[in-house]
Each structure stands twice: as structure tokens, then as C-alpha cells.
């Protein structure tokens, strides 16, 4: 016999409900972890990414010697950690002679690796090395601006991929209501060459401009670094199609025959079917015909004898 098991405590039940798949997803959580060896640069990169995303990320501080995201079999424990912490984004740091200061950023779908991109970190400047007015320091969890500069983000496949991943990593939750007073940070990504970008985090200073729109001024607050793309793996086409699905209820049905005009407002088109004035006979209710004859005709129409089919001679 099967048994129904439900959590005894409400807290656990709520936790399960939080983790269940939803029609409209809330923000993705990020898992930050590292391999056997990390350099001091990479340590601070990981810590600062954690600081940037402190509200929705988990940082592991132990060595992981069996995680190699690009190799088959090396993703098992990563996928398990993703399952355990309910994170669907991960940043994995490793340092080796072949690939110094290596950062693997990836996403998971249903706790299986969805896509991966590997970047090398160069010219890293930490938050501490910037001096700025501390009043400008961005708040934790504020909605960031993104600025991507350079045509390589469109033409080069790797950078296009990196752009999407960086956007997914830092954008936070999708919101509908935004407080304009809370805008205080910008992520700035500039393509320097087909495989190198300059990534920087800036604070925003809103200045009076005399109009409704304030004048924006960027103040670099760090971290800033160069990312050199090394390896990358795109998602499977079938998996991609599956992951891009949106809730069917949310799709807006296309409104037919309604146009919105700037001057006239809402305009509707009405179609009237062809009236076939020439071909359709008029109802036979002419008053000129005698009543009996008219009734007889109506009756006759109701029970018209069907024509018998003639037998066909086979010969």
C-alpha cells in the first residue's frame, strides 16, 4: 500500500511550496563556489560577486575537487548542490596553470546544466580600491541598469551568450512596479575585442537637469575586471525550447480588428457578411395569395416528397 506523506511542520511545507515550480518565476538564486585551487584574485572576485548579489545567493567556502562543469561526469555534484540550495545560476571559480583565474558561469534548468560559459579574469580591481562618496554606495537588492556597448555583443556568438548570462546573473527579480528613487547602480559591459569584455559596476548619481528626466552620472564603485571568454557551451535546441516556455495563461490573445490611433483613439472594424440581395429568394409571405393556397404551399414545403432514386441498370 502506498502511503501519503506530508511534512508535519508548516515551516517545511512552506519551504517546499517556495521551491515548487511556478507559473511565473521569482528571481533565480545563485550558487557561488570554487574548485580545488583558487588564487587570491579569484577569491576576491567570488566574494565580491557574492556581495553584489547578497540577497539571493549562496556561497560555499569549501574546496570541491570533483566539479568540472565542462567535462562529462564532472557536473554531478554541481547539479546536486543546485538541487540542495535551490539555485539555478552558479559561479564556479578555479585556478590552474592552463587556465589561470578561471570563472565558469552557468545556468541550470530543472537542476541540470543548461548552458555554460568560461571566462578568465584579468585586470581585476576590487571594491576596496575605489574611492568615492560613500553616500552613493548602491543598496543591496536594488534593481540595476545594464549597459552593453559594442557590436561584438551582437555579432560574436560567445559574447552574445555572455551578454545573456550576465543579464540573467545580475538582473534580479523581474518587477512590474519600480520606485524611481531606488535606482542606484549600473552594470557596464564593453566589448574590447571579439573575446574580451570590460565589466564594471558603477553607482548612479542623479543630477538636476531642469527637465523631468534627471541627468545621469556614473561613478565607478567596483568591482571592475576584464573577462576573456575561453570555452562556452550553448544549450541544446530542444532544452532551450523547453526552457523558454511561458505560462499559457499569460499569453495575451491578439485582439482582432481593433486598432489604436494616436489621434482618434481606439478604432474598431466591423465586418458585415455579404447580404446576397440578388440570389437569396424572399420569404413567400405575399399577402396577395389566397390564404388557403398560401397555407397549402407552406405545408407542401415542409414535407416535400423526396425523389426516389432510380435503379441503375448494371447492364
Amino acid at each position: 500500500m502506498m502511503r501519503i506523506k506530508t511534512p508535519k511542520k508548516g515551516r517545511i511545507k512552506r519551504e517546499f511550496e517556495k521551491r515548487a515550480p511556478k507559473l511565473v518565476e521569482t528571481g533565480k538564486k545563485t550558487l557561488i563556489l570554487h574548485g580545488t585551487k583558487t588564487s587570491s584574485v579569484l577569491n576576491s572576485v567570488l566574494t565580491e560577486i557574492y556581495h553584489l548579489k547578497k540577497d539571493d545567493s549562496v556561497k560555499y567556502s569549501r574546496k570541491n575537487d570533483n566539479i568540472r562543469p565542462f567535462e562529462s561526469g564532472g557536473e554531478t555534484s554541481l547539479e546536486f548542490f543546485s538541487l540542495k540550495t535551490d539555485c539555478s545560476l552558479f559561479v564556479f571559480g578555479s585556478h590552474s596553470k592552463k587556465r589561470p583565474n578561471n570563472l565558469v558561469i552557468g545556468r541550470t534548468y530543472d537542476h541540470h546544466i543548461y548552458d555554460l560559459i568560461e571566462v578568465g579574469v584579468e585586470n581585476f580591481r576590487s571594491m576596496g580600491s575605489f574611492s568615492y562618496d560613500k553616500k552613493l554606495a548602491p543598496q543591496i537588492g536594488s534593481k540595476p541598469f545594464f549597459a552593453f556597448i559594442g557590436e561584438a555583443f551582437e555579432s560574436v556568438d560567445e559574447l552574445k551568450h555572455l551578454k545573456e548570462i550576465l543579464l540573467d546573473l545580475f538582473r534580479g527579480e523581474v518587477v512590474t512596479n519600480l520606485n524611481l528613487a531606488g535606482l542606484d547602480r549600473v552594470y557596464l559591459c564593453t566589448a574590447l575585442s571579439p573575446n574580451r569584455i570590460f565589466f564594471s559596476h558603477c553607482a548612479l548619481r542623479l543630477k538636476k537637469s531642469g527637465t523631468v528626466v534627471p541627468r545621469m552620472e556614473l561613478v565607478e564603485v567596483g568591482p571592475s575586471m576584464d573577462m576573456v571568454v575561453r570555452r562556452h557551451r550553448n544549450p541544446d535546441d530542444s532544452l532551450r525550447k523547453e526552457a523558454m516556455k511561458t505560462a499559457p495563461e499569460l499569453k495575451k490573445k491578439k485582439e482582432k480588428n481593433v486598432v489604436k490611433d494616436a489621434i482618434q483613439g481606439k478604432i474598431g472594424k466591423i465586418y458585415i457578411p455579404d447580404q446576397k440581395v440578388g440570389s437569396v429568394p424572399l420569404a413567400n409571405k405575399a399577402k396577395g395569395v389566397k390564404r388557403e393556397r398560401r397555407e397549402a404551399k407552406m405545408k407542401g414545403e415542409g414535407q416535400k416528397p423526396t425523389q426516389k432514386k432510380q435503379k441503375q441498370d448494371a447492364e
Partner: protein, 326 residues
């Protein structure tokens, strides 16, 4: 216009300048940063222009705008939840056109003349509150009406639990089990649609340990047993030897076996198992061949018949042939 050359995704507060190129290769790091920030400011200004032109409502903390949906599509983290299949009752209610309706939580209790909860502790028509049940003529002597009521109630609860399990099983089949419910045969998914890796049971562990133990040169025969370790299970068949001495029962087994073999050998040459039908057929075929060689006509009447072929069939054939030929 500056706006037109940038791609702005207002839902993500993202702007993208696909046209920018460094005029000359930047010589120093400072130049790169300066140029990037300069370009970034333009882009952010472009987003801000679009953002501040949205209709806003004034709040205590600041102006609040409604953002449009993001245009850059990003993948989901988990698959879409599947719809729960209708329960048996829901199917029945739909068929009969039964509508759902809300019931009040408080109900007037006529026994006590107060308002009481419909369910739970201190509810209306509680079985525990009834001090006396009037005897009926149909009552059997020796039965406790209170115990009977309790039993009835218990069976109702059990039935409901059974129905619930059935419906949950159906939901599990469709992959739409509620996230906090687990059917004991399956492990509880922590998150998403994946189940937690199963814990290895004691029996399974013992089996594995047993397998490891017999993978030595002696097949585990001379290995030291650990305290509490059971001898490995014998998986193969045991060899059996026939008794050396003749007798009845098991003793006659050898005789039976040899007889069986002998019978088979003899029967190959025996005439008792002559297949008459096959023999006749062979005879017929041979004869036909002979006749063909001689060039003689084939007469059906001279054919020997192996089994009773119905005359009807042959006559039919004849008639149909007739019709066709004419």
C-alpha cells in the same frame, strides 16, 4: 535621435549599443575606462529618458512606475507546473452539474442553542456530545450503539483517505503532485521535478557486501567473517547425483532416464508413428510427376484422397470456373 540607435529593454532596464566601436585602439587602461563610462552614461540616459516618461504614481518613498514586460527572453529555472487532473468527485460533479458553494464556518447548533464551528473541536452534532441514544426496535441486543457510531465514522474517514490516495496517485501519474505531498513509494522532490536520491536500504547494502565478499580467489570461503555478517546466499542450483544403488523411487530414476533415450532412438525407425497423410501426399506428388513426364492428361479422379475433402468445395470451384470461362 540618440534613442533610436540604441536597443532599450525597459523591462530589464537594459540598453545595448550595437554600433559603438573604438575609434583608435586605446593605449592605456584609463582611456578604456573613461570611454566605457562615457558611452555607458549615454546609454543609461537613454533608458532613463524612456523610464521617466512612463506614467508614474507618487508614493511616500518616491515616484513609482509600471515597467513593461522584458523583451529579452531568458530561460526558466524550472519546468512549467503541470495542471492537476480532476479528481473523481470533480468529474462526477461536472457530469451532474453540481456547483461548488461556500459553507459558513459557524453553524447554529439546535441541541445547545448556540453557534458552533462546523468542523473541528467543539463542533455541531458532535458524536461525543450525545449522552443518550434512544433504543430502536431494530437494535440487536448486545451491541453498543456508541461504538457503532464511532466505527461508522472511522470507516468513513478511511474511505475518504482511500479516495484521496487514489486521486493523488492519478495526480502523480500526470506529474502534478502537490509539492509538499509524497507518496511513500517515491521520494520527495526537494525542488523542481527531480526526486532526491534514494537512501540505500540495509538489505541492499548486505547484498552488495555479500557480493564483495565472494569476489576473492576462494569465492569468499576462507575469508574472515565480520561480527554479525551472514553467510552469502547460495544463488546457483545445487548439483544432484543419482543414487548408485538401484531401487524404487529415486533409485529407479537412472533406469527411467536410459529408457527415455532408448525409446526415442527406437521410435525413429518404428512404423507405428507413420504419418499416413504425409505418405499419401508424397505418393500423389510422385505419381503426378511421373504422369507429366509421360505427357498424359491430369485426371483428378485418379488422385488418392488423403482426408475427407468436402465435395461441396470442389463443386463450387467447378461452377465458378465455368462462370469465368464463359
Amino acid at each position: 535621435m540618440a534613442e533610436s540607435q540604441y536597443e532599450v529593454d525597459l523591462g530589464n532596464l537594459m540598453a545595448f549599443d550595437p554600433h559603438h566601436q573604438f575609434v583608435s585602439p586605446p593605449s592605456s587602461r584609463e582611456e578604456v575606462v573613461k570611454e566605457a563610462i562615457e558611452q555607458g552614461t549615454k546609454l543609461v540616459q537613454a533608458i532613463a529618458d524612456a523610464l521617466f516618461s512612463l506614467p508614474s504614481t507618487e508614493d511616500l518613498d518616491g515616484p513609482i512606475v509600471k515597467l513593461p514586460a522584458p523583451t529579452t527572453k531568458l530561460p526558466r529555472a524550472k519546468p512549467l507546473p503541470k495542471p492537476r487532473p480532476p479528481t473523481k468527485w470533480e468529474l462526477f460533479a461536472e457530469k451532474k452539474g453540481i456547483q461548488k458553494r461556500k459553507k459558513e464556518k459557524l453553524v447554529f447548533d439546535e441541541q445547545t442553542g448556540t453557534w458552533k464551528r462546523r468542523h473541528g473541536y467543539d463542533r455541531v452534532n458532535d458524536d461525543n456530545d450525545i449522552p443518550i441514544i434512544e433504543a430502536k426496535s431494530t437494535d440487536e441486543p448486545g451491541t453498543d450503539p456508541f461504538a457503532e457510531r464511532r466505527k461508522e465514522k472511522k470507516s468513513k474517514v478511511e474511505k475518504q483517505e482511500k479516495n484521496r490516495l487514489q486521486n493523488l496517485k492519478q495526480a502523480a501519474k500526470a506529474g502534478a503532485l502537490p509539492s509538499h505531498v509524497q507518496l511513500a513509494a517515491t521520494a520527495l522532490p526537494i525542488t523542481g521535478s527531480q526526486a532526491m536520491p534514494k537512501k540505500v536500504s540495509k538489505d541492499e547494502l548486505q547484498n552488495v557486501a555479500g557480493m564483495a565478499a565472494i569476489s576473492t580467489a576462494s569465492g569468499g570461503k576462507f575469508d574472515k567473517k565480520l561480527p554479525g555478517e551472514k553467510p552469502p546466499k547460495h544463488e546457483k542450483k545445487y548439483r544432484k547425483f543419482l543414487p548408485a544403488v538401484e531401487g524404487s523411487g529415486m533409485g529407479a530414476l537412472e533406469k527411467q532416464q536410459t529408457e527415455k533415450v532408448l525409446n526415442q532412438l527406437i521410435s525413429k525407425n518404428s512404423h507405428e508413428i507413420l504419418n499416413v497423410e504425409k505418405a499419401v501426399n508424397m505418393y500423389n506428388v510422385k505419381r503426378e510427376k511421373k504422369q507429366r513426364k509421360q505427357g498424359g492428361q491430369l485426371s483428378t479422379s485418379s488422385k488418392l484422397k488423403a482426408n475427407k475433402k468436402s465435395f461441396k468445395k470442389s463443386s463450387k470451384k467447378g461452377s465458378s470456373n465455368k462462370g469465368k470461362s464463359k
